[in-house]
Structure formats: C-alpha cells, structure tokens
Amino acid sequence: MSTTATAKTPYGFSVNISRKASGETFIHKVANYMWLPMLAMGVMVLAGTFIVGIFQADLASGTFPGSDAGDRANLETLKVLQPGIIFVGVALLLSGISFLLASVLGAIRWAGGEMQEKHAGEVQTPRMPWTAWAFLGLMMMGMMLEFASLGFHIYAAVQAHDYYIKGVPPAADATHLLGRAQTVLAYAAPLRMVGIGFLLAGIVAALYTIGNVLRFQFDRVTEIILGPTAPTGYGS
C-alpha cells in the first residue's frame, strides 16, 4: 500500500489515503487461514472428550464400591483432566469464531478498498482502532490462560494419580498429594473461566469494531455516489 496521507473524515474516522487498495493485513491473512483449523480442532477436542467420558463412565461403574487402586487412580486422573481439556476445546471454538470476525473485518477492508480504487480514485482506509488491538490482545490472553489452566489440570491429575495409586484406601502419609491436587485445582477452575471471559470480551470488541467499520463504509459509499459535499452521518 502506498500511503500518501492521513486524514480525519467528517464523521470522525482517522483514515489512510492512498491510490491503491490496501488489501489484507497480516492479521486478516492469519484469520482467513486459521478460522477453519481452529473450529475443527475445537470440535475434535470436545468430541474426543465425550468419547473418553464414555470410557470414564465404564471405569466408574466398575470402580464403586471398592476395586483395585489402579482403576481408582485412572478414574480420578481422568476426572481431574476432563474439565481442563473441555475448556481448551471451548477456547479453540471461540478462537475460530474470533478469527471469523477478523475475516469479516478483513473482507470489509479488502472489498471496500477494491471498490474505492475502481470507483472513487482514492482509497480511504480506516486506521486500526484501539478496539481491534484490544480484540487481538484479549483473544491471545484468553488462549494463554486456557492453556495455563490445562497445565494446572495436568499437574493436579499427576498428584491425584500418585495419591490414589497408593492403595485402597490410600495411605495416610500420601494425603499431602491430594491436598496439592485440590489446591492447584482451586486456582485452575477460576483461571479457565477468566480465560473464557477474555475470549468473549474479545468477541465483543470485534463486534464493536465491525459496527464502526460498517458505519464508515456506509458513509463512504454515500460519499462516492453523491460526491464529497453529500450530507454525512447516514451510517450512524
């Protein structure tokens, strides 16, 4: 993109002005390619967790009342791991949705740029607003928290396994292992909810950005049709 100037439109948008359409940015390119793998991974993770859940149910039905320590340890390990993996699956799905929202923004920018280049002579491209940066930051933060939470779940699962493998009932001197698992899980549970909260907040920021960009596009189209003297504010 050859930017010739920056300006503020009558309706309050800071825009880059150029002769050629700016096309897609790196973020839009990533979003266009990543939305489908993210969604597919999310669905596969959740479907996989359900299948493992059936095996876990079978294990649970044979474990109570009383059974060997190995079965009980495996059951408790799966019980601890299950929510951590499930929330990573949900986070992957929400990331797929976030990438699709970024693709919506990319399509508006790309198609709008091509249209302006052909019909208006100059291309006005809104500068990336703070809400778009917030969207990216919140999404990345949400994903990182979900994976951190999964790490806590894995650690707690190892501790739970070590506790229950020590016999039926488990040895009294191993209680600290169970305590450690419970403590780590007490941190992990709210952490995974915070992660989902960040991802959803990112989606809100993306929708807000889409609303603003659409407002810009409507006004720009009106300006192209009626000329620069056209009354503004149609899109507000």
Binding site: N32, Y33, F50, F64, P65, H119
Partner: protein, 127 residues
Amino acid sequence: MSKLNSITSLSLLRPRSRTASYNEEVPHYRAAIVFAAIGIMVIAFVTAFSGPVAAWVSDLTDPAKAGVVESQTGRIETYQAWLFPLFFVGLAIVLTGISVSLWGIVRRIWIRAQALDEALPALKRQG
C-alpha cells in the same frame, strides 16, 4: 487469486466466481439454524438426565439412606462422566452454528461488494 481456485480456508470465505444472482440465499444461514437446534436438543437431553442425578446426589446427604451411599456414588460418577462432556458437545454444536452463520456473512460481504461494483456507476450517474 490462484489461492481462490483450490479449496482452502480463504476460498471458502470468498466466492470463486461472480455470483449470478446477488439476492440468492447463501445456504449457511439455514445450516446455522439447524446446528443451533441440534445443539439445544443435546443440551435439553443433558438437562433431562441431570434431574435423576441430582436426586441421587440428594440421597447421599440423607442420613436415612446411609446404606446406599457407596453404590449411589458409583452411579453418580458414571453418569457425570459422560453427561458433563455431552453438555459441552451440545455447546460446541451451537457455537459451530454461530461460526457457520459468520462464514455466510463473510461470503455475503463479498457478494455485496460485487453487486455494489456493478451498481455504483449507474448510481453515480443518477446521484
């Protein structure tokens, strides 16, 4: 443009050729509603099953039924092991519906751009 000629995440978003009829419905929106309906049915199924599980949990806290605790615990663990992930499978289907609907919106933006590209010269003459 060659990336648009093979099936990629990008070519699924942007129509490969000019659309014959701009008002033609994209199938995504109907598919999204079907996904949402299936997801809600799965979640309703989980909710229906949660009733008996809740009753068994309440038995555990009833001193009069102390004898059934051990077997009841097993039954609760068995049901919860598959009910909990099944709820999220239902949620995943609903979220897939949202995604399919957004996918349709991206395609619709490209189709609108094509329509505007054709209509703008005439509109400018009239304007």
